[in-house]
């Protein structure tokens, strides 16, 4: 959907490209910490806000990139719907564009899918100032390459995200959180066993010997699952606060200055015997680690298990030279560089945000 702001953007992009300058599109800047480098003149994308289309019975919402995610979620909740990937909100003003650019997903990702799974369409402005629409508002669409999902998680390096269409899902009829006292290895073993069964588990979090398991779905299904899983039921308000704190990194685990690593691992990876506190989500697939451990050593261990590690928050001692994001294999980097060039031939957008080469 065109917006008067887009012509302003077009002029800025064309000027920057002509003069060899760079731009750094941003929303509320709540994720500025997550960057290999922040370069380019800040370009506030909040000039276009608001919902373009919301059709509850079609399960989609289209919004300008500058719209606040909190507003979108409130609108959806009014119709008993949600963004099922539970995007992390590291501040009150997180925008739709910033959310999609980062590609981050929260606790429910393990059951519902990641942010990119819910992206149905995007409108972007490329480095030549062209407004391009990819995907659409329907669930099934295989016309052309899936550029919408390529844009998700590209951290603003490919183009300016102008508007986004997201699939939405109904809110669960009921939710219940169980608490079990288990060590990490036992927790992982139980979670895998439950995961292989048709149980309505929508989120898991292990920290400090306590495993929280959230069940979502029909009340009858929750009752049956609760029996099988055991543990104690957690008070509704307390449970909501817990998942909110895990999602938005306001949990006490995330306090302090020690570097925060996000480690993603394949399902059968064992408990990592590394120095530092850890918080495990997604049945063990996502592990947060507070550790001063040597980055190369950590990536070596994680890589050997088939995973990857992001230096999510560097703390005081952060050394970006080691790479905030897991280094890419040369053949993947070669394709990525050519894609960057395809979208942004003059290298206008957020140079080096992900990798120095992009």
């Amino acid at each position: 959907m065109t917006h008067p702001f887009h012509s302003t953007l077009r002029e800025m992009v064309l000027d920057a490209a002509a003069q060899g300058r760079t731009l750094r599109p941003h929303g509320s800047r709540s994720k500025d910490f997550l960057a290999q480098q922040l370069a380019g003149a800040p370009l506030d994308m909040r000039g276009a806000q608001g919902v373009i289309a919301y059709e509850p019975s079609e399960l989609y919402i289209t919004a300008h990139a500058g719209s606040r995610v909190a507003d979108i979620e409130a609108l959806l909740a009014g119709r008993q719907q949600m963004l099922a990937f539970e995007p992390p909100l590291f501040g009150p003003g997180v925008t739709v564009g910033g959310m999609v650019a980062s590609g981050l997903s929260g606790p429910r990702r393990m059951a519902a899918g990641s942010l990119r799974d819910f992206v149905l369409g995007v409108t972007v402005m490329d480095g030549q100032g062209r407004v391009l629409r990819f995907g659409g508002q329907v669930m099934k669409n295989v016309a052309g390459f899936d550029v919408s999902r390529l844009i998700a998680g590209s951290f603003g390096t490919l183009g300016l995200i102008l508007d986004v269409t997201l699939k939405v899902l109904p809110l669960p009829h009921a939710e219940q959180t169980r608490l079990l006292e288990l060590d990490n290895t036992t927790a992982l073993r139980r979670l895998r066993e439950w995961g292989a069964q048709p149980l309505p588990i929508s989120a898991t979090c292990w920290h400090g010997g306590r495993l929280h398991v959230r069940l979502s779905g029909a009340q009858v299904a929750l009752d049956a699952a609760a029996q099988l899983i055991g543990g104690e039921v957690v008070d509704v308000v307390e449970a909501a606060a817990l998942w909110q704190s895990v999602r938005n990194h306001t949990h006490a685990f995330f306090d302090g200055d020690a570097p925060l690593w996000r480690v993603a691992l394949p399902p059968m990876a064992p408990h990592l015997a590394l120095e530092g506190d850890s918080l495990t989500e997604w049945n063990g697939l996502q592990r947060w680690l507070r550790s001063d451990t040597d980055a190369d050593a950590l990536r070596h261990v994680v890589g050997a298990l088939g995973g990857h590690a992001t230096l999510f928050r560097g703390g005081r001692t952060m050394d970006r030279a080691l790479g905030v994001f897991e280094p890419l294999k040369p053949e993947v980097m070669a394709v990525s560089q050519r894609l960057k060039k395809a979208f942004d031939p003059s290298g206008v957008f957020s140079p080096g945000r992900l990798y120095p080469e992009l």
Binding site: D117, A143, D146, A152, A221
Partner: protein
């Protein structure tokens, strides 16, 4: 179904001539390929090449120079390096069941079939993942996972024959994708070889790789970016119970409204399908499912989960269907009856073949709320073109498969069928939808890409392809039209589909 008139096969030549001709003679190419492939992995005689002259889109036929049937990734690399060095186009092929001509050969090129790379590498119950080679059949993955109580969710109707490599190329869906997603939601990692012969892994068994999401671009890329050599898929626990509700409506608009009501009530059924009266009558004569023949439309709504969940959901669905004005509601009692409810829906394609010499299957997707409008428009088109049309829908996700009935021995009938199809696809775009929900663009819908996308967007698709395949030799001329072609297109739409496997269920 009768053979198609030869004159129409020429349209395939127009498409396939898009790439630069190879500078090497066919004989020299075969010598080069024999150096890197064992004799039994290379087909060069015209008799055996004939089996590869088309995929499921039988109108588009072309004889390739050779067919390579590698059994290892190293052989795939060697074939691609050889062709890359010689400037020879390569057309990747899975099981050849695709409906849009994505695997139609290039007349100056080599078909690279992954059919013989058909090993299930591993199935891990606790990891809920399987690693398979590209030639493994879709259903074989679920069969291998079944002893563990797991299955692979995407279930395209050709699942007994189609391969995972082809599913990756087409981003295949199926009846259950409203709830369980498409291939893109169920494939975690793809290992592939680029045209230049570089092996690359995109995605990972661990979630959310850093960097650009090359996996998402690869899935649904119609064999334009690379040849898949290994795939890691997600397996999901098999639901304990599945039950199906059959509802009959005396008005199509009410049936369409019932679909919207179910979704709006917060229910995501495992399957939600709709058939119009013409289809119901045609399939009933074929499978005797016991459908009410006086209904203007029939909805099939499936619930799965634990017994308690299913009972709960069925009760809510039933109430909504009642309120929406269903004239009859049946709930399957036992697996035999559930399968009988589905039997007719799954027999729609063969039933069409039974009552008409030819039929042409479309694949547009529209917003659900436009279903009734679309049906009414298609009824008007049916009158306008003087051709019958059976309407089957993946109603839950708005994906339409109208089956236009015609007779290819009657040139005028074929011409009208093509025009009918074009009008449906263009209306799908006009209603806010897309020309293809799950069958792909291939050669078949390449002209309609000019309707759905503006020149800048098509240019970007070409740029994305070039990022993976700078030489432009992998499956050239498919999926994305040249801007020149769009400018020239005018009224020259090419549309036709015919199934080479009439025995396969198609839905």
């Amino acid at each position: 179904m009768s053979a198609l008139p030869q004159a129409h096969a020429e349209t395939a030549h127009i498409h396939a001539a898009a790439a630069t001709p190879a500078a090497i003679s066919p004989a020299a190419l075969i010598v080069e390929l024999s150096r890197v492939l064992p004799a039994d992995c290379l087909i060069t005689d015209s008799g055996r090449l004939r089996a590869y002259e088309c995929d499921g889109l039988m109108l588009m036929r072309e004889m390739p120079l050779a067919v390579a049937l590698p059994t290892t990734e190293a052989q795939v690399v060697a074939v691609l390096r050889t062709c890359h060095r010689l400037g020879v186009p390569v057309v990747p092929r899975g099981a050849g069941t695709g409906l849009s001509g994505g695997a139609t050969p290039h007349k100056q090129g080599v078909v690279l079939s992954t059919a013989r790379m058909n090993r299930i590498v591993s199935v891990d119950r606790l990891a809920q993942q399987a690693v398979v080679q590209p030639g493994v059949r879709n259903l074989a993955v679920s069969e291998a996972a079944a002893p563990h109580g797991l299955y692979y969710a995407p279930d395209p109707s050709s699942q007994i024959a189609c391969s995972i490599g082809g599913n990756v190329a087409e981003n295949s869906g199926g009846v259950h994708c409203l709830k369980y997603g498409l291939t893109v939601h169920n494939v975690l990692r793809v290992r592939m070889v680029s045209m230049a012969g570089d092996v690359m892994e995109v995605g990972s068994a661990a979630p959310d790789c850093p960097g650009y999401d090359l996996l998402a671009v690869t899935i649904g890329s119609e064999g334009l970016l690379g040849v898949v050599t290994e795939v890691t898929v997600k397996l999901v626990p098999r639901p304990r119970v599945a039950r199906c509700v059959l509802a009959a409506f005396d008005d199509v608009r009410r049936a369409g409204q019932a679909v919207a009501d179910i979704i709006a009530a917060g229910i995501i059924p495992a399957g939600l399908e709709m058939m119009d009266q013409a289809t119901t009558v045609a399939v009933e004569a074929f499978v005797h499912a016991g459908y009410p023949l006086d209904a203007a439309a029939i909805l099939l709504c499936e619930s799965d989960g634990t017994a308690e969940e299913v009972e709960d959901e069925i009760a809510r669905v039933r109430a909504l269907l009642d309120a929406a004005g269903a004239i009859e509601i049946r709930v399957s009692d036992g697996e035999a009856e559930r399968l009988r409810f589905w039997a007719g829906r799954k027999a729609a394609f063969p039933a069409a073949g039974r009552i008409s010499p030819d039929y042409y299957c479309m694949d547009g997707t529209i917003p659900r709320r436009k279903l009734a409008d679309m049906l009414e428009a298609m009824n008007a088109m049916s009158d306008k073109y003087g051709l019958r049309c059976l309407n089957v829908f993946h109603a839950g996700d708005g994906n339409l498969h109208p089956l236009i009935l015609f007779d290819s021995n009657d040139a005028d009938s074929l011409h009208r069928a093509e025009a009918f199809g074009v009008e449906i696809l263009e209306l799908s775009v006009a209603l806010g939808g897309t020309i293809t929900g799950e069958h792909g663009v291939g050669l078949e819908k390449i002209n309609q890409m000019c309707v759905q996308f503006a020149p800048g967007e098509l240019d970007m698709f070409h740029r994305v392809k070039a990022a993976f395949d700078p030489a432009g030799l992998m499956n050239p001329g498919k999926a994305v039209p040249t801007l020149h072609r769009c400018a020239e297109m005018g009224g020259m739409h090419v549309h036709h589909g015919e199934l080479p496997h009439p025995d396969l269920p198609r839905f």
